[in-house]
């Protein structure tokens, strides 16, 4: 067996956040090589480097023993690397043949389409796909679109096929069929890289597996001689025992989410009758693989998205499922969204504008005709001191100039300044360094101790485990399992992937 694709010492960072650090990978022709890891472990980033999408800051890409520098995706394609991304790169109103022609550039349309049509027929027959080259892509199912993507890269002459979480969008039967096809491809001589976080796929279909954690390669193993428990252990890291914590006196339900369903933009259901409750003085953690409805749940709770059916009930507010964002709602529910600059802060506005915005409607900062900038700035200045927001030269500076951690502190300062009864935090430490992350966690724990009901939605299992009193596991828009503190990390990990 020959090594087709080797990545050595790859390093890549975005805006100072290191996503790949000395990552290694080596895939052989004729085998399915799984790349396993949690969300954000760097799997997709590493393969985006191989596909020429990201230029690595350090390290080497070796193809068939020859070290190369990729100038971009087209060069990667010319070198036989084909990647099927999680989000398909297809032009929806084009036909299958047009899409494939577009990706495998021939300048002549008419003759190009003719050649491509023949190539598609040949390739689909080999793979056992039933693809009509003249169907428009937007009339195909997701599984068929994926087949088009695979045919697209193979028609382009790919010898190394990278599939990024290919089964995430498929039903079980479709997934099985796909993985068997991929196995056949490998036996015919293609090097297949299968990015996944599903253990059973690795065990059943992969010839070897590389495990990544926090941007680093942890191990490369033969899955047939490794147990699922060992793989889980390597994926999630060391299991640490959590300190016991005093339960707050048993208090009443503060927030109740009942059978909440919510549609995505494309009509598919992001939330399917999600049900849970949160007591006053507890942190309810929601764990899960990202993309299972957490974002939609957070948005529904924060008032950014209207649920289709179900109920959101908050003590003293009542049923707020379909209510517009009112002053009372803002006063009771603190929202700490995952993406600070989409729902919490406006980068182009000043710190004081960003801080005061939630209280403007209450009349604290002047009437409709008059804006009391003085009070806004004084309040902001004192909050900045109290919540230790660093790197501020003036309350008039733009919020976009704050670092991630300090922007998050500003959001927390604003949201907590109103004495809320419920806190909804979605990945509150995403993109923060250890110190800022710790500060955020301390704030959440302090809120809990003050008797606030905290919902912590996070894809970082460590965060959920260390902070939560109770943990719900979210899969495909449902809470599929609940765990009391101290929860068993392995059990939660299994619940996250078993239902996926």
């Amino acid at each position: 067996m020959t090594t087709s694709l080797a990545l050595k010492g790859i390093r890549k960072s975005f805006d100072g956040v290191v996503v790949l650090d000395d990552a290694e990978f080596s895939g052989n022709a004729g085998e399915v090589h799984a790349l396993l890891g949690e969300n954000g472990a760097g799997k997709s980033s590493l393969m985006n480097v191989a596909a020429g999408l990201y230029a690595p800051e350090a390290g080497q890409i070796v193809i068939d023993g020859e070290p190369i520098a990729l100038s971009g995706p087209s060069e990667a394609r010319a070198r036989g690397i084909g990647m099927v991304h999680q989000h398909f790169k297809l032009v929806m109103p084009f036909t299958v043949a047009e899409n494939i022609l577009l990706a495998n550039g021939s300048s002549a349309y008419r003759s190009g389409i003719k050649e491509i049509r023949a190539a598609i027929k040949k390739q689909s027959a080999e793979l056992g796909f039933a693809i009509d080259p003249d169907r428009r892509v937007n009339t195909l199912t997701v599984a068929q679109q994926q087949q088009v993507e695979i045919v697209k890269v193979l028609v382009g002459g790919a010898k190394i096929l990278i599939l990024d979480e290919p089964t995430a969008v498929l039903t079980d039967a479709e997934a099985e069929q796909l993985l068997e096809t991929v196995g056949r491809l490998a036996r015919a001589g293609t090097a297949v890289v299968l990015i996944t976080h599903k253990l059973n796929e690795v065990k059943r279909y992969a010839d070897s597996v590389t495990i990544m954690r926090r941007g680093k390669t942890v191990a490369t193993l033969d899955p047939s001689t490794t147990t699922a428990a060992e793989l889980t252990q390597l994926t999630v890291g060391e299991t640490q025992t959590l300190p016991a914590r005093a339960q707050n006196a048993n208090t009443g339900t503060r927030l109740n989410v009942g059978a909440l369903s919510c549609a995505r933009a494309d009509g598919s259901m992001a939330l399917q009758e999600a049900t849970f409750f949160v007591r006053a003085g507890e942190i309810y953690g929601i764990a899960g693989v990202s993309g299972n409805g957490q974002a939609e749940l957070a948005e529904a709770l924060m008032g950014a998205r209207e649920p289709a059916t179900g109920e959101i009930w908050v003590e003293n507010l009542g049923d707020i499922t379909h209510a517009p964002v009112s002053n009372a709602r803002i006063a009771s529910i603190a929202a700490i969204p995952a993406d600070r600059y989409s729902f919490a802060l406006a980068g182009g506005l000043s710190l004081s504008d960003n801080f005061a915005v939630t209280e403007i409607g209450s009349g604290r900062y002047g009437s409709l005709a008059h804006l009391d900038r003085g009070t806004m700035q004084r309040d902001t200045a004192s909050a900045i001191v109290e919540y230790d927001v660093q790197g501020t030269r003036s309350v008039k500076q733009k919020a976009a100039l704050l670092s991630g951690g300090n922007a998050q502190k500003l959001v927390i300062a604003r949201e907590f300044s109103r004495n809320p009864s419920v806190v909804v935090a979605h990945s509150p430490s995403r993109g923060l360094d250890a110190r800022a992350c710790n500060a955020v966690h301390q704030r959440l724990l302090a809120a809990r101790d003050r008797g606030i009901a905290v919902v912590l939605i996070s894809e970082d299992l460590d965060e959920v485990l260390s902070l939560s009193d109770r943990i719900g596991v979210m899969t495909r828009g449902r809470i599929v399992a609940e765990f009391e503190r101290p929860a068993d990390r392995q059990a939660i990990g299994r619940a996250m992937v078993d239902h996926a």
Binding site: Y54, G303, I330, S342, F343, I360
Partner: protein, 367 residues
Amino acid sequence: MHDVSALSPESRTNVKPNPTHFRLVLDVRQSLPAWKQALFLAGSLAVGLAISVAILAVAGISPIQLGSELIGVFNADSLRAVLVQAAPLMLVGLGASIAFRIGFWNLGLEGQMLFGGIFAAAVSIYQIGPPETRLLLMGVASAIGGALWCLLAGFLKINFRVNEIIATLLLNYVAVYFLFHLLYGAWQDARSAFPQSTPFKPFERLSDLGFGINSGLLVSVAAITAAAWLVHFSRVGFYMRVISANRSMAKVVGVPIQTVTLWIVAISGACAGIAGFVNVASQEGRLTQSFANGYVFSGVLIAFLSRNDPIAVAVVGFLIAVLFITGQTLQVFYQIPFTMVQLIEAIIVMSVASSEFFVRHRVRWIR
């Protein structure tokens, strides 16, 4: 997250790695100091003006002649004409800029001007109210007319998601033909063969206050002042900033987006309506069929150049008025068609629009 640097056009065409090839790298800027932004703006403006001067030179006006004509504008008579012309320009510019501030692309300024003029003329024709308050009533009616015509597009946007660019633009035509319907029919001056209404009575006209200042200018300066206060010192202005800075955040933090939008749409239309009133009650003295021609273009240009700031609208409005009056002079003395003025406006809009790209991106050639 896309690594833009890896997607340079060079890499698409040049598959074989070439150690000496250059590539164009585009970075998105995080922020740019205000003075640099002003520099880019000034630079693009200079480019636009240079192209305009070149085109005029080809049309037969040497830069020297052009310069003397421009200076000539600042004699007493021409200055009066400039100030009369500045009033409606400032008002349409204000109408455009206020709507643009919250991302409502009001391209129906002409239609709203027409309805402003029609409503004002209606007050005159049906002799509503005593002579002392007639002019005031005409002004109020014009604001209502413009506001209603603009709200129609706002209503379509909010309730049926009709793109306001399309709605406002097409409603211009509806307004024009409604005006024609009046001027070729019920409202046509019986003593005139032209499609125009009976002249307004002296007390129905905006008078000259002396020193070259027309009372229409006072109306527009008052509107500018009110808008500057609204935008900079009121809660509504704060809401507008939040809506334009981050709409999804505005929703989550409880900004009444819909109410604010409807009010701003109404105010925008009202400004254009008053501009229509100022035109018919000062320059024309009656309802004519062309008193709003070309104003949507000027309004957008003024809003663009002023970065939607009311005070800057006043300054830019004045400068565009200078351009208008110079254009009229060129038309008379050099037989240059007046469309040349619109051509120059268009060139300036495009230059300023392209400066936006350089404000947001940094372009570098690297090896």
